[in-house]
Amino acid sequence: MPKIERREFLKLVGAGSVGVGAGFMLRETIKHPPEYLIPHVVAPEDFSTGIATWYNTVCSMCSAGCGISVRTREGRAKKIEGNPNHPVSQGKLCGLGQSGLQVLYNPDRLTGPLQRMSARGGETFEQITWNEGLSRVADRLDLLRAAGRGNRICLLSQGVGGHLAQLFELFMAELGSERLLHYDYDHPHTLYAANRQFFGEEHLPYYDLKNTRYLLSFGADYLGNWISPVHHSLGFGHSRQGRPDIRGRFVQIEPRMSMSGAAADEWIAAKPGTEGVLALGLAHHLITQGYYQGADLDAWRQALRDYTTTQVAEQTGVATTTITRLANTFARSQSSLAIGGGIAANHSNGVDTLVAVNALNYLVGNLGKEGGLLFNPEPAGSVSHPRQASFRTMLKLAKDAREGNIEVLILNGTNPAFTMPAAAGFTEALSEIPLIVSLSSFMDETTALADIILPSHTYLESWGDDFPEPGVGFPTGAVSQPVVSPLYNTRATGDIILTLAQHSGLSDAIPWNSMEDCLKDGWREIYERADEETRTESFEVFWRSMLKAGVWGEKSQRDQTFTLAEGVIDNIGVAPPEFSGSPDDYPFVLHPYISNSFHDGRGANLPWMQELPDTMTSVVYGSWVELNPVTAEGLGLKEGDLVDIESPHGRVRAPVYVYPAIMPDVVAMPIGQGHSTYGRYAKDRGVNPIEILSAQMEPHTGSLASSATRVKIVATGKRVELIKTGGTSRDLGREIVQRFDPTAQSKTGGAHSTQLNSIPITTVTT
């Protein structure tokens, strides 16, 4: 052992301690931070850690009313799926519905009551307590009611159904106000009106897509966002390939190919606003070719005399051969169906068009028949249509507000500041209202103008119910129940209304303490007048089993006999569409369409929806302008070129997307983006084409003729890169999407076995 020098020794000690220190720190840094196991104080009965619990409730992302099942783990909602028991959704759900989770867990939710601190337009709010907020509102309501000026109170809600709608009715009636309005941008006023004209009743029929064999859709994007897309998709799938040896065929007639157009067997572009003319042209063909043999044949012949094939072809731009072919197939198919809506109805002649479509159904004799158009029974509970505000009603409201006739506006969920054209001046009108109260869960454009915000629960945290409209052919309804405990200091809309009612001393007429009680009372009534089968057990059993199943329905069906309303045949006819702006200055027709992802803009704050490629273009995060390739080439525009779309009422700027399936004189833009506020995912992204629409209306209903604005395209010379997933959308002969020719197959016969050989199927060996 050599003698260690002092210096050496110090060196060794030094090295050793550095090593020890480093080793110590090494373990310290790689150590896992402690995690906690937080038990319940009292164990809940209905869920256990590690085991998923499913709650059935109702989707509120659009008005279709799909039943949903929400998967929860440890008290947190994890996934939304369709409720298999529910007749509308049958276990399926669209993307928007599934994104409901991100409404619940949205980081931009309002977490508690707020009151405005600055002038309108600023965004400074301060936190207040519920008591402060509620009493401020209730005091004002009391004052007005006591003064008999209850009618100066307006409740403007998104379209809600069921007992919440009834509660609104009661509440407003007690306050003495007529101004209870539900406002949805895409509410099909024209369709209701056309049905009233044709069938004499203001309900939506049930379109039996499932059993249809030939479908003519006039502008209705029934698979995308029209009425009840999930249910229509179910029917579509079944009609296409769900039946042995029968394959339903689908034809879509619209100036811009929608998702339904892509799914259809045939897409036909008729000039904007002439879909009704085409329908009557088909009807004329049915009459003249003797497909229709009813007693009123002569009346029809007389009414349709101007709609000869050649005339119609000239007006619509659809070839005569196509018209006769469509009409022949429509007439000869065993169960054929014509539906209309969407873009075809968003013209000044919308109701005429839809009446014409109904006439087709009448002439082919599918009313009340399987695979055709079925009539729904009265819904078991309240639906919101009668209170739905048309564009004209909203203008009236704005006028009243401007004239100082509205003193309190209570907003619930709806966002007219975003979904009304700037030309309507709605936002300016709102500033005349002394007190605006918003019950919205999010800081949307309209809520940003509110003085007091009493944020409500999202639909996954609150009680409610829904009676799908249109129904599914039999009385049905579903209760929506809270699936998680509330995340924030918010309250259910119903409970807020009930509390306001109590504050104002309306407990006699509105006796409930909570929305749950209100619902139960309401459903007790339904239970009592329901059929034998429903009433086998006590109400409590019924209630619990319904919550479990998520839906209730009766077997009874409505009588499907049908008589035509008075004077329909004589008045039939489709006027030429009117457009705002002259064709010389504004050569293009703007077609703003509802986006599948964002609906009317309400989905824009959901990150999943922002990242969901658009069905047709695969674009995400932003707006775009769809142009026909020929048009784009003529204007010297390529994908990504920024253009100004200018209407007589304003301009928006968006990049071009060259869209192969749009008429050359139509430009299309999706609705939904262009929020100025509405959370981090929606804010300042894209543009809102509604802004530049003219206040053109359909005269019968007063609904907005959103496809009736002419625009011009001004190139800006700037470019952006469109964010999208698609690289090149042509398959270059690589046979990726292969097509099958049924006629060829039946001839050869042997093709069956060759197909099998390429895909061996092994059998169970164990």
Binding site: T725, G727, T728, S729, R730, D731, L732, G733, R734
Partner: protein, 455 residues
């Protein structure tokens, strides 16, 4: 070549080369400082940034999941190919013109391999788990997947790195002994260890000769296999334009090609800045020029074959890959590559060109730029256009990647600068072998280390 070295004596060789190690001018330190600084700033700093934030720091995307990192990896592996391989081939064929340049060529191999191996670390998403690609017993009982071309890579590169470092070291042992005898202090300690007690006995020379020869025999097929395997990383995939049988020879030729050009560059620098004019002569450049010409012709031929097969195949995928390469987003790079790698080397037909230093330097750099482009194009164009047109996309490198590429050259330079101060960058004993026996007695005193260096 004898003509130029005739006036040299054995002792001069020792003196010159030992001096190149021991005597260090300020220019060296400036060069080292700049190279090291750039390596640190442009390579390691961005790399750490990338480690922290993820591969997203690079411009990679879907479908361009591979980008310049892999291109750089192949480039550096390719650059490594001529050093040891050429050295081995020339050793076995007993070419005497090899002897003055093989040491630095081998060093180039070694360092470009090291840089290439670093690029593997830069390239993968989770380099902190890179050891999972090595076969070692562990409690998970998990072993690497020996069916993967990437694992062939791991094995081949590990072997190649081991082989070429052993090869350069073995060849340097007698020189280390020579340097040992002429140095003092810490250098003497270092060279004592490095030379392992070499005395130059007949026995040692004999054993060294045989060992060296066996190594050369082993390393030639290894080197060929290394780049074949690298090519299989691509060719084993189904990607159009990558799934090709010609890839292995294409890569091997390309590798030797770019490596030879790299040698020209290194030779130029050594000759100019290490004062090795007497050792690295015009003869070397002449021979290397001929070699470049030959390799460029083979390379061009294979390139044409590749294009032709793609065109002749008459499938949508191959046609698309071909037309994208020639006329697509990266087309300018393709034509740049053709200009630099297929057209420019034709200048080597001229003997005057081959023996002019600066033009040869410019040519060699151009070839390597072209070869880097080639690697980038192999990765970039083919991944951009695969089977499903809807998934096509374009990959553009990010600043981080550019910086890391620049930094990798600085890293290589740094390593090389350190090398010239440790290894005799020209082989002392092999140069002597090409000379006549000495006629003048030498001065064999130790050369004093420069002022200030530690004793």
């Amino acid at each position: 070549m004898q003509a130029e070295t005739n006036d040299l004596q054995y002792a001069d060789v020792n003196n010159d080369i030992v001096r190149s190690i021991v005597e260090t001018g300020p220019r060296y330190y400036v060069a080292l400082g700049i190279a090291g600084g750039v390596a640190l700033l442009c390579f390691f700093f961005p790399w750490f940034y990338q480690l922290y934030f993820g591969i997203g720091a690079a411009g990679l995307n879907h479908p361009g999941v591979w980008g310049t990192y892999l291109a750089s990896f192949i480039f550096w592996i390719g650059l490594s190919h001529s050093g040891t391989l050429l050295s081995c081939v020339l050793h076995l064929t007993n070419s005497s013109w090899r002897k003055a340049m093989y040491r630095s060529a081998e060093a180039m191999t070694l360092f470009s391999l090291m840089v290439a191996a670093t690029f593997v670390m830069v390239h993968v998403g989770r380099p902190w788990f890179i050891h999972w690609a090595l076969p070692y017993a562990n409690q998970m009982e998990m072993w690497p997947n020996f069916r993967s071309p990437l694992l062939f890579d791991v094995m081949a590169i590990a072997t190649y790195l081991t082989g070429s470092s052993i090869f350069i070291y073995m060849g340097s042992i007698p020189d280390f002994a020579a340097v040992r005898d002429r140095t003092t202090g810490w250098r003497n300690t270092m060279y004592t260890l490095l030379s392992l007690g070499w005395r130059g006995t007949d026995r040692e020379w004999h054993r060294l000769h045989w060992a060296y020869t066996f190594l050369a025999v082993l390393i030639i097929p290894l080197a060929v296999s290394v780049h074949s395997i690298v090519s299989w990383d691509f060719a084993m995939s189904l990607v159009p334009a990558l799934h090709q049988t010609i890839f292995a020879p294409y890569f091997v030729v390309g590798a030797i090609y770019s490596g030879t050009a790299g040698i020209v560059t290194v030779m130029f620098v050594l000759r100019r800045y290490m004062n090795f004019e007497q050792y690295i002569t015009k003869v070397h450049f002449d021979n290397l020029g001929k070699l470049l010409l030959l390799l460029s012709l083979i390379w061009t031929y294979i390139n044409m074959v590749e294009l032709f097969t793609a065109w002749y195949s008459d499938t949508s995928t191959e046609h698309e890959a071909l037309s994208y390469k020639l006329f697509g987003y990266y087309a300018w790079l393709y034509w740049e590559m053709i200009a630099f790698c297929a057209v420019a080397p034709l200048l080597c037909i001229s003997g005057r060109f081959r023996t002019s230093m600066v033009p040869m330097l410019i040519l060699s750099i151009a070839i390597n730029i072209g070869m880097y482009t080639e690697r980038f194009l192999i990765v970039g164009t083919s991944l951009s256009r695969q089977y499903l047109p809807d998934s096509w996309g374009v990959y553009v490198p990010s600043l981080v990647e550019m910086s890391i590429i620049l930094g990798s050259f600085a890293l290589f330079t740094t390593l090389f600068l350190i090398f010239v101060k440790i290894f005799p960058s020209v082989s002392i004993y092999e140069v002597k072998e090409t000379m006549d026996t000495p006629t003048v007695t030498s001065n064999a005193e130790p050369i004093a280390p420069p002022e200030g260096s530690p004793a």
